[in-house]
């Protein structure tokens, strides 16, 4: 009996969410008989099971709903919002009762007469159901059911514990396999044994993948309650909102799903409450009465993106700033200094709300700060694209699974720790000229390129003694713990970059706040994952909001020095490039690169970028690249590794002979080549982007009916900086008004007598008609140049 009850509870819960959204969709389209049938069937099933399980309240509720629905089906009643409200209320009540039952508390035999009455109040006909009629229905629905059941995917219910247990079992298996592999490597083995081991190894890997799959759930689970939520909100606020959702099939880790549920709900509430205007305002703004709200989920790499887009009024930046000032989050002077982007960021400041009136719906003291904190806690991020008056787009990015986090491993006090990579901004050596650490009032401050950050050694935070054997040269990691909490952390060394499987630690460890979890790297020794926020708390660093910028008095600026990014190129040479040219550094999967015509290109969101610094397509999985931007054009520089940021000397030894290198300097005893930024851009983009196309001379090929001109000559000319047009005859050519004409051998040129024309001879017949040998590349180009020069003169 208990089992039956549990199953009933689980099944009903699962159906409830999707049912509410079915009902809302049906309300929008009352003619949809199939939906109505599905809803009817649900109540009918509940009613059937509760009679059997002796749950009189459920029976009464579902009976009432069923009555109304059957009246709707027969057409004896018309659908109305009040009626749908009534049915939704019954769904809610059932959900409440289910929750009570799940908690193991016996149900009171309370009355639900209020809800049941609400359904019948606006009914004109007498609310008595003909028993025989009802039994007819039962028969028809029962007959329907097997048909629907056969289309449903076969599945069984498995307790989560069991899945976790399986998952652990498989992890153990993988570790055991690794150990066996190690033993096999150390001994001479029989090839047959090795083959068998390989097969076993493959099976284990497959199994791990499929077990991982069981943790995944479709995003539908958090999307399906949304139509109901939006409908209720819109009703309450007297607004009209069309909700569309897409990407129901996207799958992500079930724990992750739970974590984004609340932030998503909050953003949608905000959007309906504050974003989308009342119908009259929308009409005035020339928008359709009904606001559009779309929620879509999709997968990009190992991230899940959830986009929430509305066409409401967007965020009023000025009002946001006013709010921030009146809530004392920023002083007026500070606020004025902020960039637009930074002003928009204020939406994430604690204690801010842009609604002019606090409503019951979103003004409940839970702000976007909490939303962001929740998303960032799991290694995700949140982006806002604000178009005032036109709408708002919010993009949530979360990792596919909760448990695998990209981390840097670092050492302090002779011990290794992991730190989430998402919170690390920069890694510097302490002996870097750009870094200065000063003592003030018992605390230390790091000055990095003119910016000051609170500085603390990791050993001090953790209460560790410094390891005496450690190298003297320490490393500084600058950390962006949360949106406005930045600090610099001194560590012995940064060791590696790894994707680690992170598990929560025991409460006695987590209570400290310093650690975010434990992880087990390949070496089999557990490692602690540091929590950047907790460490800041321990070190009593509180977010001051911004990094304090020392107004342009940094040492570099005083001496007129420029900063350079020090990197190793893919041939292992140490090079530096002007920091101002580097937009950002990124790791890109190798399959983003392609080679064509001897040039390398990288795929980006909006097209392709030329790639510098590659000699062959990369073989490793990820390629480190610098995004370069000179103010006009963008390109990508593939590198082996980014080393540091250094000051570039004002004067350095120029190397005129070496193409692409502006000069060299010494850093310690290592020679550093300084990249000639202009050369890189000109070599990669050349005449394509750095000059406007119209400034290039127009060359007309006369007699281009000849395929040779089109296929051989035109590309040569284009690559040499000409625009090329084709003409079949001299008359046609004249009409084109080109800067210079290049005529094929034997073309009649009467009409072009006064125009600059270069004539081509056939190969080896230079003298016959005064034409240029068609295989003399330099000759052709020289002749064209001369022709142009004569024309301009």
């Amino acid at each position: 009996m208990d089992d039956l009850l549990q199953e009933f509870i689980a099944e009903t819960r699962e159906t409830l969410d999707s049912l509410a959204s079915e009902l809302v969709r049906w309300e929008a389209n009352p003619g949809d008989k199939q939906r109505l049938d599905a809803i009817f069937r649900f109540f009918h099933t509940i009613k059937g099971s509760c009679g059997f399980l002796n749950l009189p309240r459920f029976e009464r509720l579902s009976h009432a709903a069923e009555d109304v629905l059957s009246a709707l089906r027969d057409g004896t009643r018309e659908p109305s919002p009040a009626l749908v409200d009534g049915i939704l209320a019954i769904i809610d009540r059932i959900a409440e009762l289910i929750a009570v039952m799940e908690a193991g508390v016996p149900l009171e035999d309370g009355s639900d007469a209020d809800l049941i009455k609400a359904l019948s109040e606006d009914q004109l006909a007498v609310h008595e159901v003909d028993e025989s009629h009802l039994s007819d229905l039962e028969i028809t629905t029962a007959a329907d059911e097997p048909a629907t059941a056969s289309t449903i995917m076969r599945s069984i219910r498995v307790p989560l514990d069991l899945i976790d247990h399986l998952m652990n079992g498989v992890s153990d298996m993988v570790l055991a396999r690794n150990e066996v592999a190690r033993c096999l490597r150390e001994s001479d083995i029989d090839p047959a044994l090795e083959a068998a081991f390989h097969r076993l190894s493959g099976c284990i890997a497959d199994m791990r993948d499929s077990i991982g799959q069981t943790r995944m759930q479709r995003i539908e689970r958090i999307f399906s309650p949304l139509p109901r939520l939006v409908r209720d909100l819109a009703h309450e606020l007297g607004k009209k909102v069309d909700l569309s959702t897409s990407g129901h099939n996207v799958e992500l880790d079930r724990e992750m799903l739970e974590i984004i549920r609340d932030p998503l709900t909050h953003i949608i509430r905000n959007s309906v409450d504050h974003g989308i205007e009342p119908p009259e305002d929308r009409r005035a703004a020339g928008k359709p009465d009904a606001g559009r709200l779309s929620v879509s989920g999709y997968q990009a790499g190992n991230q899940i993106l959830i986009e929430i887009v509305d066409d409401g009024r967007g965020i009023d930046i000025d009002r946001l700033v006013e709010k921030a000032v009146s809530a004392r989050i920023r002083t007026r002077a500070e606020a004025q200094m902020l960039s637009d982007r930074a002003k928009l960021e204020l939406i994430f400041a604690p204690g801010i709300s842009t609604a002019s009136s606090v409503t019951a719906i979103s003004g409940r003291g839970v702000g976007m700060d909490v939303v962001r904190a929740n998303i960032e806690r799991v290694g995700g991020s949140i982006d806002i694209d604000n178009r005032p008056g036109k709408g708002l787009k919010i993009v949530l990015r979360v990792p596919l699974t909760l448990t695998i986090i990209p981390c840097l491993t670092l050492s302090a006090g002779g011990q290794q720790f992991a730190m989430p990579r998402s919170s690390i901004r920069e890694i510097l050596f302490q002996n870097n000229q750009q870094v200065r650490i000063e003592q003030a009032g018992g605390t230390r401050i790091a000055y990095i390129r003119g910016k000051s950050l609170p500085f603390v050694d990791l050993e001090d935070i953790l209460g560790l003694a410094a390891d005496e054997d450690a190298p003297v040269k320490r490393t500084i990691v600058t950390i962006n713990a949360s949106s406005d909490l930045n600090y610099a952390l001194g560590v012995e060394a940064v060791l590696d970059h790894e994707e680690l499987v992170v598990r929560p630690g025991a409460p006695v460890i987590m209570a400290d706040g310093l650690y975010a979890g434990t992880t087990l790297p390949d070496n089999g020794r557990p490692m602690l994952l540091l929590d950047p926020v907790g460490m800041a708390k321990r070190a009593q660093i509180s977010g001051t909001g911004q990094e304090t910028v020392q107004a342009e008095t940094s040492e570099c600026a005083q001496q007129g020095q420029e900063s350079g990014l020090l990197f190793r190129d893919r041939k292992g040479r140490l090079r530096a490039i002007l920091l101002g040219l580097v937009e950002r550094v990124e790791d890109v999967p190798a399959d983003h690169f392609a080679k064509s015509c001897g040039h390398f290109h990288m795929r980006v969101e909006d097209g392709t970028r030329p790639v510098h610094g590659l000699n062959s397509l990369p073989e490793e999985d990820m390629v480190k690249i610098l995004h370069l931007f000179d103010g006009h054009a963008r390109l990508v520089h593939a590198v082996a590794d980014v080393v540091d940021i250094v000051a570039l000397p004002n004067e350095f030894e120029a190397t005129p002979d070496k193409i692409g290198i502006a000069g060299v300097m010494f850093l310690g005893d290592e020679l550093v080549e300084i990249v000639d930024g202009h050369w890189v851009f000109s070599a990669m983009l050349g005449d394509r982007k750095t000059e406007t196309p119209s400034s290039r001379p127009l060359c007309c090929l006369v007699g281009s009916g000849d395929g040779w001109a089109r296929n051989m000559l035109a590309p040569l000319l284009r690559s040499s900086g000409y625009r090329v047009v084709m003409a079949d005859s001299a008359d046609e050519a004249e009409a084109l008004d080109a800067d210079i004409y290049l005529a094929m051998d034997g073309e009649e040129l009467a009409g072009l007598a006064d125009l600059p024309v270069v004539r081509l001879g056939s190969s080896g017949k230079n003298g016959t008609n005064g034409g240029v040998d068609r295989y003399d590349r330099d000759g052709i180009l020289d002749a064209l140049r001369d022709g142009l020069a004569r024309r301009q003169a």
Partner: protein, 144 residues
């Protein structure tokens, strides 16, 4: 099942742990220390793919931290969904006891008071029954 006890020695005294707590007994070595954690936390140890939090049991009694010996016995217990390894001097026996444990008749000295819950008699021997949940979080003792 209820009457099965694991007998171990902590700080030189023999104690009984009800067998339903005990998952296994393992030998541990080379734990990862947890800086700035509570003093009775001895570190982390990987038991296959699981991470055990090691508890220095004798700290509750002596108030002094003791270094982990290589191959020291740890009683693996699961509390609140997490696995712990209770470090003990040695594990001596598993016994079946017919009689029910008796409640404590007098206040135990500090330390023992934190972890002991009852007294168990078996033939000629008497053991203190200890509660692993309290070893892991001594604050529980005050709540009880």
């Amino acid at each position: 099942m209820k009457d099965l006890y694991l007998i171990a020695r902590i700080a030189g005294e023999r104690v009984a742990i009800a067998a339903q707590w005990v998952e296994s007994v393992v030998k541990v070595s080379d734990a990862t220390p947890i800086p700035s954690a509570a003093p009775y936390i001895a570190g982390l140890y990987a038991l296959r793919s699981r991470v055990l939090t090691l508890i220095d049991c004798q700290f509750h009694l002596t108030g002094e931290q003791q270094d982990l010996r290589v191959g020291q016995n740890a009683v693996v217990v699961e509390v609140g969904g997490f696995s712990y390894g209770l470090l003990v001097d040695e594990v001596s026996d598993v016994i079946t006891v017919a009689s029910q444990p008796r409640p404590l008749q007098r206040k135990l000295p500090a330390g023992w008071e934190l972890i002991g819950t009852a007294v168990l008699e078996d033939d000629a021997e008497t053991y203190l029954v200890i509660d692993p949940a309290r070893l892991i979080n001594p604050a529980l003792a005050h709540a009880a």
